[in-house]
Structures are given as structure tokens and as C-alpha cells.
Subunit: 431 residues, 2 copies
């Protein structure tokens, strides 16, 4: 049997320096969201295949890592000759499906509205490629049981606060609403059964511009009148025009959009905008987001990168209909969340964070054959130093001590003491 | 398609109160081991099936959650008609196999000796039963690249320090050595190809006593002389006799055990024993441990439970031959580790820890139709309080406010303010 030393393709390994940054960022995220009243929960990595393949997960459902049945169940499944029957569960591809199931299963034990924070791995069997992993970490906050836009305001404010605290204050929140997307398509006169296609095309506006969208719609055989009317919604104005969505539409959606939706979105923008620390929040009528389960406001947050490219780091929205599918009740359960991609934030922060700052530490190097009584004294002394909070490494001295010290300097150790035969000898090391 | 609200059988869900305890304990463990110079690393949850089924994992290899191949690989495998061909990877069942692979893959980037800390989920497809989960968390520390018993001393000391810091100072470390186990079997004259069977029987001594071991060996057809000689090794003395293993054997293993092994074990006990804070370390000639990969000292740590039962919380040992199988080199890479079962520690601690201690917090309850300008003022005020470190929950006021407040009291909130039409109104709530 051969042993394979490389990880499965596309799966990440985190070395000490990388992990120190991850821990630093994750702890800040937990702390910050904790101050907004979000409570950590955790769900299993493995979910029923029925829940993962329920057609709410969009393209992610094609990327499931499927787990085989076990024991007699597997034997019976093999006999059927149907490969689909071999699998009964899979690894979660996001934290929203598990949260909806978790809430339905535990709702009687939870305080409502329930403000959940999750930090966990998700898995997608994507084609491995540079910078895209098949196991990665999502940080999700969700508010379940609040139908008012207090939920959206708190989600956006908390995430803005978190980005600010991490030193990522230069960001833009773009906001839209699923119902506005539908109203624009209705106002343009597209047939309702083809809205999905229209949104897939609209989603490419960032890359192709309005003219590209126009061409793709024409290629799709939509009527010229509809295309003209539709594209008119996306040609308007700069940042100023996008600070209010009531203003943006100026009555153009009257009759196709229920009252209160535009003003509700404006309220979110105004309230969240007041506490943004340098970040921005704007209405973006072309924001689509892929998941089919969204029912109301949707948002996406992008950082102004040093390379002047915008980099999406978070996204989310309201999904008021998903949880009732798990509770089995007819009563809808309002829900709303934001998901942050940890790896993107870490890529940006990794060279900025000094994880060793303020850490008092020392290394004791032990040459071969050191006197055992002196060693015992060292153990006792080191124990005391550790109890006082100091980081103390006791390590055999390598033949190539220079290389050993260089590596330990990278881990943040500054003080090096050799337990030489004549006594402790502090080494003169340049950090 | 039906939605299932219960988790997969045997998979844990962690609610807010449970998670707060877990976070508290995990953070203390990380902090404590960090002070001993262990660096956090992380490996993927998924490993090559070849590495998981390499016959080093003992019974765990029968408990693998196997993951199906994907895309064309799956299609080709289905055509073969062989169910074993359908799987190319699986979920890890421990953190030692992934660490060995990780080290072999990254050794040029790591400082030697490499002191690794891992906190991560592992999965075992055990039959679900009360108190045993199919996804659970292990905390492992390992020292790779140190052949001296400095490694064992540091592992045991660091774990003793961690238990002490968690308020679990009343523990016993039992220590033995794989080579001593073999020497006892050799001295008793058992045939070498049946040592494995003998150790499986010896492993039951805790439950059956020496007489039970004697009966099982007889049932196995071993010679009476060998059984007598073997059982003689386990009849000796109380705690006093077990404080030194050289003393315990008093020359009885001369000729079957290389020099230095007994004195090396005594050195570990003496050095670690000096810094144990109330914990104990004793030699236990009947300690076996199941994994076949151990090559030297092995240990197990048990807590003196309130119910006076001893509860094993950690175990480990030296496995000098495993890593070379991944590096592919003939040079052995010394390695030694201890694994802690987080769930056991949490079971004991969960009622002792006040995770809300010292947290300043407040809840603002918002009645329906609250004035939006006053709400905006509240958002700004809450932002400031959060920046100053306070936990602030802003939540719609439920119809059943008493129930709402009771649940929030459980989450540690103490101060409740209603945004009433006439202004902020502090509620008189008894915690």
C-alpha cells in the first residue's frame, strides 16, 4: 500500500505562520460579532443528501462531495446497480442550508429573533485552480425571526464594524432587492417564466456593460421594446443617484412593485450609512446574486483593493421561505444573513498583521548529554515563566544551530539561551 | 423532495450555551500549549483513501466515511462494477495520519523539532449511541524530530499544565513503553507471532483483573508456564512500587530489554513529576493502547471524576516509524504526540464555567412602529458602546416579552431597555 504525501488536489494546508494570521482574524470576527449580540453555533460538516440536493443551492449542488452508505445499507444499494443509491449524505457546501435545518430542529430552545454566528469549513468539488480551494471557511451571521428591516440594518452594520476593526475600512456595500429585480423585468414586459434567464444575463453587466447585456438579451430572442425598456433601468447616474432607490426609479416601478419596498430599502441605506466608518452603501439595480432562495433585500460587500480592483468579500440577503420547508409548518419564518469568505480577507491582511507583537518569548537550546539535574531545574523554571504568560520553547540544540535559530525567529522568538555545560549562555542573535 | 430537520444520526449540534463553553475551553487549550511553544497548524478534513486505509489506524479503518469519486472518474468506476473503486478519499478519523502526511509534504518549511498543535474535527462511522458522536473534536500536540525523551517530558508537562489551568488538577498520567510490553511477553516465553493476541487480552486487565487475564490466556491455548511468568509482571505493588519502573522490574527484564529504556522512562516520570501541580505520574505495565504504530513510550491520562470513576481524557505515545513511510526516505523521523478528547473535558467542565463572567451587556427592545429618527440615534449610540467593548443586542420586542427576556438572561444579558414612545425605559428584570 502506497502512502501519498501531498494533500488531495485543491485542499488547503495551513502552516504555523498562516494559521497565526487565520486565528487572529477569526478571533477578531468572533469578538466583533459577539458585541452585536450574535451567538456562535456549530452544525455537523455532514448533511443529509436530501437537504443538499433540494434545488435551493443553485450551482453548488453540482459540487457536492458525496459520502457512501455504510454496512448493510451499502450492500443493499450495490445490489440495486444504481450509483445514485450508494450515497446517503454529503459535505455541506455552505452554512445556510445547515442553519435552516438546525433552526427548525432546535427552535424551541432558541431565543427569538435568533442571531447566529457560524465560522466553519465548507466543501465544493470545484475544478482545482489557483486561489480557489475545495475546502474553505465561511463566516456567516444570520438573524432568524425578524421580518423588519432592523435585521438588515444590524447585519450590514455589524459587518461594516468588523471590516473597520480589521483595518479594512475602505469598502462599498451594494444593495438591491429580489422584488425590485422582478418588478424591473415585469415593467419591461419580459415573460415571467423567463425572468431567470434575464437575471443570469443581467448578472454579467459588471463585465460586459449595458451594451453587452443588450446584445445577450437580443441573442436570447427577447423583444426589442422590452430590451430597451429594461436596459433603461441600468443606464442611470453615478454614486449620487444611487444613494436613494426611491429617487433612482422616480416612479418608474409604480404599479409593478408593492408599496414600501423602495422606502424600506432607503431606510436600510440611511440607517446603516450613518454608522459606516468610511465605508459606503449604495443601491445597485444590477445586483443579482445566484441563490434562488432569496426573497427580499440582497447585498454584496466589496473592498477597494490596493490594486484598485474591487474584491467581493461578503454577500447575503433575505430568505423568508426556506426555513418553513424544514419546520414543515405553513407559517413562514423570516430570515436574513450575510456570509463572509474568510480566505479573501486573509489574503489581503496576511502581510499587514504582526501576530507576534507583544509576545514575550524565549527558547532554551539543550545540547546532547546535558546534565539531568540541571535539566530538571530548567523545567521548573520554565513552568513558572509559562504560568506568568511567557512563551517558552525547550528544544534540543540542532547540529545546524544557525538554521534552527532562523526558523524560530520566523515564529517570533527573540531570546535564545543555550544550556551549556558551564551554565546558561544567552546567545547574541540578530532578529 | 423532502427536507429533513434532524441532523444525521450521531452528529452533534452545538447550541449557543454549549458553544460558549467549547470556545472557552478551546481558547484556554490553545493559549496554554502556545506557551509551551506549540504552533497551530491545520490539515484538510479529507484525506486520500490510501493514507486512511494503510493498516496503521487499527479499528478506526473500519469506521471511515468514504467519499465518492466525481465526474468522469466516477463514471469509469461505475463501469467496473466494483464498489471499492467508487471511492478515492475519506474523512480523517484522527489527526495523526494527516499530521504525518503534512510533515512529509512541508518539512523543508518547518523548524525542527517541529512542535505542532491541532484542534480539529474527526469522523468515525461508529454505531450511534448515547455519549458517543460520529463527529468529534480532537486536540493533538506532537513533537517531530526529537529522538530524546525531552519530547515526552514536554508533551506530558504541557498537558498537565493545560489540565491544571482548566481546573482539572486531579489527574493521573499512566506511562508504559511498547518495548517493555514486548520484553515482558518475550521473558514469559510467548511465541513472537502471537504478541498481538496477548496484548489484546492484557488490555482488558482493568476490567477483569489479573485472574481474568490468566483465564483468557489459558483459553487461548498458551502454556501454563508462560501464563504464570507473564501474570507475575502485573501482580506487583501499589503506587509506591510504580513510581520507578527500574525498581518495579528489579532486573527481571535483563537480557530481553535493551539498556536505557527503563532508566529513560524513569527520567520522564521524575522530570515531569516535578512540575505536575497535584497531578500524578505512575508506571503501568498493563497499559497497551490500540494503535499499531507506537514504537516507544506510551501514555494515558485519566481524571479523578467526582463519581470516583477514572475518566480517560488523553492518550498518546511515540511513533518513530510512521513519517518515513510518507517521506519515502530510509531515515526514520522521530515523532511523539498526545491526543486529547475535547468532548470529555467539556462534559466535566460545562456546569463549572461561567462564560458570561465579566461581560458588560445590554438589550434594546424595539416595539413595532418605533420612530425611525430615534432608531437611527440608537444605532449610533450602540455603535459607540460596541466600540468600547460592550455587547449590545438590538432586537424587536416580541409579543411574549417575558419569554424573550428569560431566554436572553440565559445568554448572559443583564440590562434591558425598551425604546418606548416616551423615551428609553429601563426594565426591572430579575436575573
Amino acid at each position: 500500500m502506497s502512502f501519498i504525501k501531498t494533500p488531495i488536489k485543491g485542499m488547503p494546508e495551513h502552516l504555523p505562520r498562516d494559521m497565526a494570521v487565520r486565528e487572529f482574524v477569526i478571533n477578531r470576527i468572533k469578538e466583533n460579532y459577539g458585541k452585536y449580540g450574535f451567538s456562535l453555533i456549530e452544525t455537523p460538516a455532514i448533511e443529509h443528501i436530501e437537504n443538499l440536493s433540494n434545488r435551493e443551492g443553485g450551482e453548488n449542488e453540482m459540487l457536492i462531495f458525496r459520502i457512501m452508505k455504510r454496512g448493510e445499507d451499502l450492500e443493499r444499494a450495490v445490489e440495486t446497480g444504481d450509483p445514485a443509491a450508494l450515497c446517503d449524505c454529503g459535505l455541506r457546501y455552505d452554512l445556510t442550508v445547515p442553519l435552516a435545518r438546525f433552526f427548525a430542529n432546535n427552535m424551541n430552545a432558541l431565543s427569538l429573533p435568533f442571531k447566529a454566528l457560524q465560522v466553519g469549513s465548507v466543501w465544493r468539488a470545484d475544478k482545482p485552480q489557483k486561489g480557489r480551494f475545495r475546502q474553505f471557511t465561511q463566516c456567516d451571521i444570520d438573524i432568524i425571526g425578524d421580518h423588519s428591516n432592523l435585521a438588515e440594518i444590524e447585519l450590514v452594520s455589524a459587518t461594516a464594524g468588523m471590516l473597520h476593526e480589521l483595518g479594512l475600512g475602505d469598502f462599498t456595500v451594494r444593495i438591491n432587492d429580489r422584488r425590485i429585480l422582478k418588478a424591473m423585468a415585469a415593467a419591461a414586459g419580459f415573460p415571467e417564466d423567463r425572468y431567470g434567464e434575464v437575471f443570469v444575463i443581467l448578472d454579467k453587466l459588471d463585465k460586459t456593460g449595458v451594451d453587452g447585456v443588450r446584445d445577450m438579451l437580443a441573442a436570447g430572442g427577447f423583444s426589442a421594446g422590452s430590451i430597451d425598456a429594461y436596459c433603461g433601468f441600468f443606464s442611470g447616474g453615478g454614486k449620487e443617484a444611487r444613494s436613494s432607490c426611491s429617487g433612482y426609479f422616480a416612479g418608474r416601478l409604480d404599479g409593478v412593485l408593492p408599496e414600501g419596498i423602495l422606502s424600506g430599502l432607503d431606510e436600510i441605506m440611511r440607517s446603516a450609512g450613518k454608522i459606516m466608518n468610511g465605508g459606503d452603501i449604495v443601491f445597485d439595480p444590477s445586483l443579482v446574486r445566484g441563490m434562488s432562495y432569496y426573497t427580499g433585500p440582497i447585498f454584496e460587500i466589496a473592498l477597494a483593493d490596493t490594486s484598485a480592483l474591487s474584491l467581493s468579500v461578503a454577500g447575503g440577503g433575505r430568505y423568508d421561505e426556506m426555513i418553513a420547508k424544514y419546520t414543515g409548518s405553513r407559517t413562514p419564518v423570516p430570515a436574513c444573513g450575510i456570509s463572509i469568505g474568510l480566505e479573501r480577507i486573509i489574503t489581503i491582511l496576511k502581510d499587514r498583521i504582526d501576530t507576534n507583537a507583544g509576545k514575550d518569548s524565549a527558547v532554551y537550546l539543550i545540547p546532547p548529554g546535558a546534565d539531568s539535574r540541571r535539566l530538571e531545574e530548567l523545567f521548573i523554571k520554565a513552568k513558572k515563566m509559562r504560568e506568568e504568560g511567557k512563551r517558552v520553547m525547550i528544544s534540543p540544540k540542532n547540529k545546524n544551530m544557525k538554521n534552527q535559530i532562523d526558523r524560530l525567529l520566523e515564529l517570533g522568538y527573540a531570546e535564545f539561551i543555550e544550556l551549556a555545560p558551564e551554565g546558561e549562555k544567552t546567545l547574541n542573535v540578530k532578529g
